[in-house]
């Protein structure tokens, strides 16, 4: 298949070239870690302990690390190696930093220590009243432990971000949209290069219809965009538990947006004469569309007029699509309109790109 040959030569060259390799593999992996670290929900605070950790050690919401003495513990807290430090000699002393995470750790530690104290004093009480030894009494207490009451929180009124939505999951999809598109535009430079080598023209001299050449060049770009998107989505979900919503819906949005990005890369590569031009326009377009599409500031904060502008960009639609999945509990069906619009964008970009590329070579 000629389409696949042309697509493959693009991926092959991108893999062989060092900077290409960076954009293809290293950058998405880097993004996985940035997104995961910033937006992942499963980070456990680490509490350093001097002395007996007691009930903290069995607490699922913190991780305990033992320290030999207080100075070492204090240094670790100051360096940010651990979230907080607990010294257990007489009255427990908790070392925290004065930020919000410090307060959270303080609540966790206080409740764990209170639970421990409750258990011990209940054991004393049972032992003295039932006349049994202390260990048996404690096992009786343990057997009748009250499970924590589950409290479901919900917001009332006009909440933009429902409870349980960290606000960060949206950030992850924003990053995905911005970088998938930007990266695809950088592949435009490769197309300009192929043209300047005279290779595109030479392809036109072979018995290969123009649409096949264009489709092949486009497919290479889509494949690269898709690969990057997949690495970011799957990587951040698996490693950091970042939520992307309904998997089918998210996959469909990703494919549709990769098509748009590949189409944009093709058109830009057909329009520009030099690689510098693709770089300049690429950054300008990539960041401009991202800003207007609500990837920098949430769409909810846009004025009605700006919202109209946002929905003139593929970024706005992709953004709203991911929002529908992650925040409104949507599925494939609820993002169908978004998919339709994105595929429309892709179709227009491909047609324009194909037309321009053919002109650029044969005119």
């Amino acid at each position: 298949m000629k389409v696949l040959s042309i697509a493959w030569i693009n991926v092959h060259r991108a893999l062989r070239d060092r900077t290409g390799l960076f954009f293809l593999v290293a950058l998405p992996l880097l993004l996985v870690f940035i997104i995961g670290a910033a937006f992942g929900g499963s980070m456990k605070p680490v509490v350093g302990v001097v002395g007996d950790a007691g009930a903290l050690r069995s607490d699922a919401s913190v991780q305990v690390r033992d320290f030999a003495d207080e100075p070492a513990l204090r240094a670790a807290v100051e360096h940010g190696e651990i979230s907080a430090g607990l010294v257990r000699a007489g009255t427990p002393v908790l070392l925290t930093r004065s930020d919000r995470s410090g307060q959270q750790v303080r609540m966790l530690v206080t409740s764990a220590l209170t639970r421990e104290a409750n258990r011990l004093s209940a054991g004393e009480f049972v032992a003295s009243h039932a006349g049994i030894d202390r260990d048996t009494a404690l096992s009786v207490v343990d057997s009748m432990r009250v499970e924590p009451v589950e409290v479901r929180a919900t917001t009332t009124g006009e909440a933009l971000f429902p409870e349980g939505f960290s606000g960060f999951d949206l950030g992850a999809s924003n990053q995905l949209i911005v970088f998938t598109f930007l990266n695809a535009l950088t592949t435009a430079a490769a197309l300009v290069e192929t043209r300047s080598f005279g290779v595109t023209r030479r392809m036109f001299a072979t018995p290969t219809p123009a649409r096949v050449i264009v489709a092949g060049e486009a497919l290479g770009r889509i494949a690269i965009a898709l690969l990057q998107g997949l690495i970011v989505v799957a990587g951040s979900a698996l490693l950091f538990g970042v939520r992307w919503g309904d998997p089918l819906g998210a996959a469909a949005l990703l494919v549709a947006f990769a098509l748009v990005s590949g189409g944009a890369g093709l058109l830009l590569g057909a329009l520009c004469r030099t690689q510098q031009q693709t770089g300049g326009f690429g950054i300008l377009l990539g960041l401009g569309l991202a800003a207007f599409g609500g990837c920098m500031v949430p769409l909810e904060f846009f004025s009605p007029a700006l919202r109209t502008v946002a929905f003139a960009t593929p970024h706005g639609w992709a953004n709203d699509g991911f929002a529908a999945l992650t925040r409104r509990g949507g599925d494939l069906l609820s993002v169908a309109p978004h998919l339709g619009v994105l595929l429309g964008f892709a179709a227009v970009l491909f047609s324009l790109g194909a037309w321009r590329l053919r002109l650029a070579v044969t005119r």
Binding site: D17, R202, R358
Partner: protein, 307 residues
């Protein structure tokens, strides 16, 4: 049998009429040279013939199939070696060939054959970027041979290469023509055109101003082959004898000898020499002058072929 026929080709770039009413044909097994100074319109003509450039007017037919940028069937019949190296420098020679082979529908075995033909088999695994200029040129030619075309179009295939690579390329072209391939060849090197081409067309400022075999062109200018003889013996007798030979068209005294104007100096020379010796004269020296394409070219265009 005619393989390429183009007629009335015209192409304008803005104010420049790059090609103006160019027509010619190339037969099976024939090598046709397109000669012209820089900017004459050779590459533009070739681009229209290979279907990579839209034309403003004119027809191109390859083996009975009309050529245009969308004519896939016609492109199957044409091999194209562009003037500028058109290959991926960051791929190996073999990878470049395999890529284009897939576009021409040629197999992997053919890639290895072509590598042998152009003498790159032992360097096939090296990046094209690391090839010498001559090797890059040979790879450029190899891509055009992959699908064994009916018509091979070479646009200055030897520009700036070492004599070894040049000879290799010229030998390749000669062998392909011998197999019956029609060849369109442009060059700035007159000796290449004289060695390879059965016919040449001279193009200047977009117009084909003369066409024919070297001999035809030379004669059209009134330039003829000449044989100068220095003789001992009876000059007037010798003149009578030589004047009776049909191929000798003119005759004049020249120092201690004669200057003959002949149809074809190489064919004529043995006849002339034997006629003289049978008539008792002794030849002291012989000088043959064949007016070359360079002369023709200078005469027609007022320009040297290479500036």
């Amino acid at each position: 049998m005619t393989v390429l026929s183009c007629s009335g080709l015209r192409r304008r770039f803005g104010d420049v009429l790059a090609v103006d009413d160019v027509s010619f044909t190339i037969a099976e097994g024939e090598t046709y040279g397109l000669l012209g100074p820089n900017g004459a319109g050779k590459t533009t003509t070739i681009s229209m013939i290979t279907g990579v450039l839209e034309r403003d007017a004119g027809e191109v037919v390859v083996d009975g199939v009309p050529m245009s940028p969308d004519a896939v069937a016609a492109k199957r019949l044409v091999g194209y070696v562009p003037q500028e190296l058109a290959l991926y420098p960051d791929l190996t020679g073999r990878e470049n060939l395999r890529f284009f082979a897939s576009l021409y529908g040629a197999g992997r075995r053919r890639v290895d054959e072509v590598l042998e033909v152009v003498g790159l088999a032992d360097r096939a695994g090296d990046l094209a970027r690391e090839y010498s200029g001559g090797m890059k040129r040979r790879l450029n030619v190899a891509i055009g041979l992959l699908h064994e075309p009916r018509l091979l179009v070479l646009d200055e295939p030897t520009a700036g290469v070492d004599p070894q690579s040049r000879n290799q390329i010229m030998e390749n072209v000669r062998a392909l023509a011998a197999e019956g391939m029609a060849i369109l060849y442009t060059t700035h090197y007159m000796e290449e055109a004289e060695r390879l081409c059965d016919r040449v067309g001279v193009i200047d400022s977009g117009r084909l101003i003369a066409e024919g075999t070297r001999r035809e062109l030379v004669e059209r200018l009134g330039e003829r082959d000449r044989i100068s003889l220095q003789l001992d013996g009876d000059l007037s007798h010798a003149a009578t004898v030589l004047g009776a030979i049909p191929a000798v068209r003119g005759l004049a005294p020249h120092g201690h000898g004669l200057e003959l104007v002949v149809d074809d100096a190489r064919e004529c020379l043995p006849v002339v020499l034997s006629a003289i010796s049978t008539n008792g004269a002794v030849v002291r020296s012989v000088e043959v002058t064949e007016p070359n394409l360079e002369t023709v070219f200078l005469h027609l265009t007022g320009k040297a072929l290479r500036e």
